[in-house]
């Protein structure tokens, strides 16, 4: 296990180093401000005392959050989102883990490289095309087979488009993992299942948790596909917030967005912590 930390030179050596060029700090600041300022403004105005999303008035308060939580439709959209996201995240992570193991371990088979491309291709396909294709798929299913899973349609669609996102970090982790560790386990009398459970899986945790986080975020805030596939009563948070923008805008919208953002951040930070704890144990 080589030491992964690299020495950062504290002294300017005179050699060309991008980090020490003039303007580097300024450019960094501009990027950070452009990225985060709008979100900070959104956040701040969610506590606005007036009912404008652009003009500040009155004392900061929780009014718009109370309003949002009192909104029956917002709550039902939140419930739908949680159901769909949880199901899609769990199933897609499981499928992606199995796929990653299947394509990096065991006997090599013909078309192994092609599978990598096929699994990842959806990442390159414009989402609107996936959305229309998914819509026609479910229409055909309903029309000719009479099958409609209700909210299950959305869960299925989300599961499918989450798989490549979950697959990437898990596969990367597996490829970086020394296969001799699994051989060592087998050499020490571990059956393939024991070797997986005791060696591969624990070491794969950072990859799986990164995959889970990606799948969660992608499913949680999906708009395009959900918009086309969702039936009546299947409104999710992004769809509901989008619908809200058609009416007069109030800071209630800011509050809803802040809640969405908070859930995303919580989840990402959580999975990062899990991955990091495991990594610090193993590297």
């Amino acid at each position: 296990m080589a030491d992964a930390t690299t020495e950062v030179p504290l002294v300017r050596t005179g050699a060309f180093d991008l980090k020490w060029q003039p303007g580097f700090g300024v450019a960094t600041m501009v990027c950070l401000v452009l990225l985060y300022a709008p979100m900070i403004v959104l956040f701040v105005f969610s506590f606005n005392g007036s009912d404008s999303i652009t003009r500040w008035g009155g004392l900061p308060n929780w009014h718009w959050y109370t309003e949002a939580f009192a909104d029956q439709e917002f709550r039902s959209a939140a419930m739908n989102t949680i159901k769909i996201t949880v199901v899609a995240t769990i199933i897609s992570t499981l499928v992606a883990t199995a796929a990653a193991i299947g394509t990096t371990r065991g006997r090599r088979f013909a078309g192994q490289g092609a599978i990598y491309t096929v699994v990842n291709l959806p990442l390159m396909v414009p989402e609107i095309i996936t959305a229309i294709a998914t819509l026609s798929f479910f229409s055909l299913l309903a029309q000719y087979a009479g099958i409609n899973f209700g909210i299950g349609n959305l869960m299925l669609a989300h599961t499918v488009f989450c798989i490549p996102f979950a697959y990437m970090p898990i596969r990367a982790r597996l490829e970086g993992m020394d296969e001799r560790l699994e051989q060592a386990a087998a050499d020490l009398y571990a059956t393939p299942w024991q070797a997986f459970k005791r060696v591969t899986l624990p070491l794969l945790v950072p990859g799986i948790s990164a995959g889970t986080a990606l799948a969660f975020i992608v499913s949680f805030d999906d708009f395009t596909i959900t918009q086309l596939v969702a039936g009546p009563g299947q409104t999710t948070l992004p769809l509901y917030i989008w619908a809200k923008t058609r009416r007069p805008l109030t800071p209630e919208l800011n509050a809803m967005c802040t809640i969405l953002l908070a859930i995303s951040i919580l989840f990402v930070v959580g999975s990062f912590l899990i991955a990091n704890r495991r990594r610090s144990k193993t590297e």
């Binding site: 001799r180 051989q183 050499d187 020490l188 024991q194 624990p202 070491l203």
Partner: protein
């Protein structure tokens, strides 16, 4: 009845004694035009309690042979016997054989103690027994105080010891070691060589050791198999391999050697008479397991089995001293023989400086009777 006995008796005896028998094993990778014969029709028997070394350059097939014994690879042809039982088809987790990997392959998410106990745990041993064995192993490799460390928190030499303890803990019938010392620095490597010999002596387990380092092989092994291009060229004790190399490759790979063209004039019971290019006649040892015939042969002479002399009349070979390299304990004299071939003599240094030879001198070389070895190729 009487006539059959010799052919059967040795085989029974060999099967009883051998920890591992490798019978005409081949392993090829790829297919068609790109086929690689990593191990090519190898047969050998490794005895019980033996320190057996597979020695050869990288790509010679020694690691593949080790992986075949461990079960990570399965032979394309031939079979492997462990204690007389055919294990060719068994997966690694069903073979009572453990491996020390080149990079140690310690489990990074487990402590030192958990690593060492892993094999016993997989064998379903009771907790108390595992803990007792782990403590015994820690003591054996002198690592007691690092029991609860993570493997990433200990040095390379310590990781090496943990890897050894982990592989020894389940008391395998055979311990396989895949260049385990190559990642260590010189001083640590010397210490571990002694340590390995001690461990083998104390545990009484058969060690199969893979290395490309000829010095390591000579100092540690009971027997050595020299491999090249998937074939075993010679098996023997370190002394056999060094003093009586069977082939040019073996002679060249191990130690410094002088090659000479000679003429075999007559031979009887392992000793022949060769005529050297200088015209001198010498007794020479013949290869053990190959037939020879009179005529042109290659012979080898180790540099320390030759001596320089100023008495040209009694010399077997004559030449001009090219360069003299002083090494402290000994001096290397590089000569050009009268026949044009290079020749090297290594002589122990003494405080008596008068015996020293200088570059440019015309000198003679004397060879003792056992110095000349005939090669089979």
């Amino acid at each position: 009845m009487h006539g059959q006995a010799p052919s059967i008796a040795p085989r029974v005896a060999a099967a009883g004694e051998a920890a591992i028998s490798i019978e005409r094993v081949s392993k090829s990778f790829g297919g068609g035009e790109d086929i690689v014969r990593a191990v090519d029709d190898v047969s050998l028997a490794i005895r019980k309690n033996e320190f057996f070394t597979l020695l050869g350059p990288s790509g010679c097939g020694k690691t593949t042979l080790l992986r075949l014994i461990a079960g990570f690879e399965h032979p394309t042809r031939g079979r492997l016997l462990l204690d007389g039982q055919d294990i060719s088809a068994l997966p690694p987790f069903k073979r009572p054989v453990n491996t020390v990997f080149q990079n140690y392959a310690l489990f990074p998410h487990m402590t030192v103690a958990q690593n060492i106990g892993f094999g016993l745990e997989m064998l379903g041993k009771p907790r108390a027994e595992i803990s007792a064995t782990v403590d015994r192993m820690l003591k054996l490799v002198r690592m007691e105080e690092l029991k609860n460390r993570r493997t990433s928190q200990i040095s390379g030499g310590q990781q090496q010891r943990v890897a050894l303890a982990r592989a020894l803990a389940p008391q395998p019938k055979v311990l396989l070691l895949d260049e385990p010392l190559s990642a260590l620095d010189f001083k640590l490597r010397k210490d571990m060589q002694i340590e390995l010999k001690r461990l083998q002596h104390e545990t009484g387990i058969t060690f199969v050791f893979v290395t490309h380092d000829q010095e390591e092989a000579l100092t540690m092994s009971d027997r050595i198999a020299v491999m090249n291009k998937g074939k075993v060229l010679q098996i023997g004790s370190p002394r056999d391999i060094y003093d009586r190399p069977a082939e040019r490759f073996v002679a060249n790979f191990i130690g410094d050697t002088n090659f000479l063209d000679a003429e075999l004039e007559s031979f009887a019971s392992g000793i022949g008479t060769v005529r050297l290019p200088s015209g001198a006649r010498m007794n020479a040892s013949l290869p053990v397991d190959a037939a020879v015939s009179n005529g042109k042969v290659s012979v080898v002479v180790r540099p320390e089995h030759a001596r320089l002399t100023r008495d040209l009349a009694s010399a077997a070979l004559k030449g001009k001293l090219d360069t003299v390299v002083y090494f402290g304990t000994d001096t290397h004299y590089h000569l050009k023989l009268a026949s044009g071939e290079p020749f090297m003599v290594r002589q122990q240094n003494t405080r008596d400086g008068a015996a020293a030879f200088a570059a440019g001198e015309d000198v003679g070389i004397t060879l003792s009777d056992n110095a000349v070895q005939v090669l089979r190729d």
